[in-house]
């Protein structure tokens, strides 16, 4: 093989391959050395007007009958506890969730925050079904699937 003659061809193929490797390294390598350490409570669906966290405890919002009628047709909201040690989420009842002590800060003490993935097409970008724990340039995809794209972070477990 004449390497001198084929050098531009080799460069043309190598440049996109290097970009692919660069993207993979930039996405996955920082996450190998830093891990989220706090579990958290979240809801699928919009909790506004249904649940509220007061003094670190979740509770159902009590409304008069008219307001309750306004909210009653909304999609059911489910509560989930994400366990960082097992990297999995499980559905929990309001009674169990009310026993947890929550920190509602967006950023946990270990520096991580929770963000929804993006669904990007050619023309727009929307919230995705997956969740990420993010700390600076570190991002770790969590083993969680958001069924209906709507996610509400409720608090870190103290």
């Amino acid at each position: 093989m004449d390497y001198r003659k084929n050098a531009p061809l080799i460069a043309a193929i190598a440049i996109p391959i290097l970009m692919i490797i660069f993207v993979a390294v930039a996405i996955y390598v920082p996450g190998l050395f830093k891990h989220p350490t706090y579990s958290f409570l979240y809801a699928e669906g919009y909790t506004s007007g249904i649940y509220e966290v007061k003094n670190g405890t979740i509770a159902k919002v009590e409304y008069d009958e008219r307001t309750q009628n306004y909210y009653k047709n909304r999609e059911e909201v489910k509560l989930y506890l994400y366990d960082v040690a097992k990297d999995q989420a499980r559905e929990i009842s309001l009674e169990d969730a009310a026993k947890l002590s929550l920190d509602t800060s967006r950023i946990a003490l270990d520096g991580f925050t929770i963000a929804q993935g993006r669904r990007t097409s050619l023309f727009d970008s929307n919230d995705g079904r997956n969740l990420f724990a993010i700390n600076g340039s570190v991002s770790k995809e969590l083993n969680v699937g958001i069924r209906n794209y709507s996610f509400t972070f409720l608090g870190w477990i103290k």
Binding site: N6, P8, A12, G117, R119, T120, S121, N130, S139
Partner: protein, 328 residues
């Protein structure tokens, strides 16, 4: 008859005064005209084949969409992927012949290339996969790269080379999207721009490779796409006041002058005209971004106009001095 024998025969009949110089020249001209008319009719046939191919594609797409609800799954796959495979097979059969029929074969390969991705998507959609997902796109594009790369090595047709490059570019975008996996730390717009920039550089190198193996038209096509990829994204990456990116705004003129320098080095007009057009775009952008508020629009237009005249003269000067005799 060998060329030397032919020339010897011409010398002999000239020495015997059997044929005059004018008769020889007119015979030569007639021969050239005959070859040109044959070539012209061949080119027209090729154009008609490809226009016909485009109409066939349109017909099949309309057929699929208007009858989508009436067709069962097998019918949908047959109409899309089946048509693509049938067009490919027909192309392969016709490519065994020469010239005019060979060109018809190329048109059928072209039809197949347009229908093949549609066929893949319809089949995978029926199989229950999310066809918007990056993984599905990566699979479809990788399959098409494989099909057309193998086809190129079998048929040695440059149409397959173009298709392999186009589908490889798609594979590159979908694979990087798959790796990024909807990660929210990435700015989707910037991510797309940087990937396009990198692909543009890759096209420029590929164009240079094809210029070295004497595929000038192919090479110039890649140069044009590569320059658009690099310069349009570099201009967008520069942003606009107050969100401008100084790195790209400063480096951009350097890239443009590098392109103009390369045009002289390679004796290639695509680099010269492309560099000039993108320099004009940069001057207009910078003038409106930084000078339109301070000096006002009227004075800014005078500055931009003078700068454009300068670019025009530079382009003319370089073209006359270094590229006057080059083909492109």
């Amino acid at each position: 008859m060998e060329k030397n024998e032919l020339l010897k025969a011409i010398k002999y009949i000239a020495s015997q005064n059997l044929v005059s110089k004018d008769e020889l020249i007119s015979a030569y001209d007639e021969g050239i005209a005959g070859r040109k008319s044959e070539k012209t009719s061949f080119d027209i046939s090729k154009i008609l084949y490809f226009i016909g191919g485009g109409i066939i594609i349109l017909g099949i797409v309309i057929l699929i969409f208007t009858n989508w609800d009436k067709m069962n799954d097998f019918g949908k796959i047959l109409a899309s992927l089946g048509s693509a495979i049938a067009a490919y097979v027909l192309g392969a059969i016709l490519s065994r012949y020469e010239k005019i029929i060979y060109a018809a074969g190329q048109a059928f390969f072209f039809i197949s290339a347009i229908l093949m991705p549609i066929g893949f998507y319809v089949t995978l959609d029926i199989a229950g996969l999310d066809v918007d997902a990056a993984g599905v796109n990566a699979f479809v594009s990788a399959s098409l790269v494989l099909i057309y790369a193998i086809s190129y090595f079998v048929y040695k047709t440059y149409l397959f080379n173009i298709l392999a490059i186009a589908f490889s570019s798609w594979f590159y975008f979908s694979l990087t999207s798959l790796i990024a996996g909807n990660n929210p730390i990435l700015d989707a717009e910037k991510f797309f721009e940087y990937r396009t920039l990198v692909l543009g550089f890759s096209f420029l190198f590929l164009g240079y490779y094809y210029s070295k193996i004497d595929k000038k038209v192919f090479s110039n096509m890649l140069y044009a796409f590569g320059m658009c990829g690099v310069f349009i994204t570099a201009l967008i990456l520069g942003g606009y006041k107050p969100d401008q990116n100084m790195f790209w705004e400063i480096i951009y003129p350097g890239l443009v002058f590098a392109a103009i320098f390369i045009s002289v080095y390679l004796k290639n007009k695509i680099f010269l005209f492309g560099g000039s057009i993108f320099l004009i775009a940069y001057i207009i952008k910078i003038t409106s971004e930084y000078f339109s508020h301070g000096f006002g629009w009227a004075f800014s237009l005078v500055i931009a106009g003078l700068a454009l005249m300068g670019v025009g003269y530079l382009t003319y000067y370089l073209h006359q001095k270094y590229l006057g005799s080059s083909e492109l």
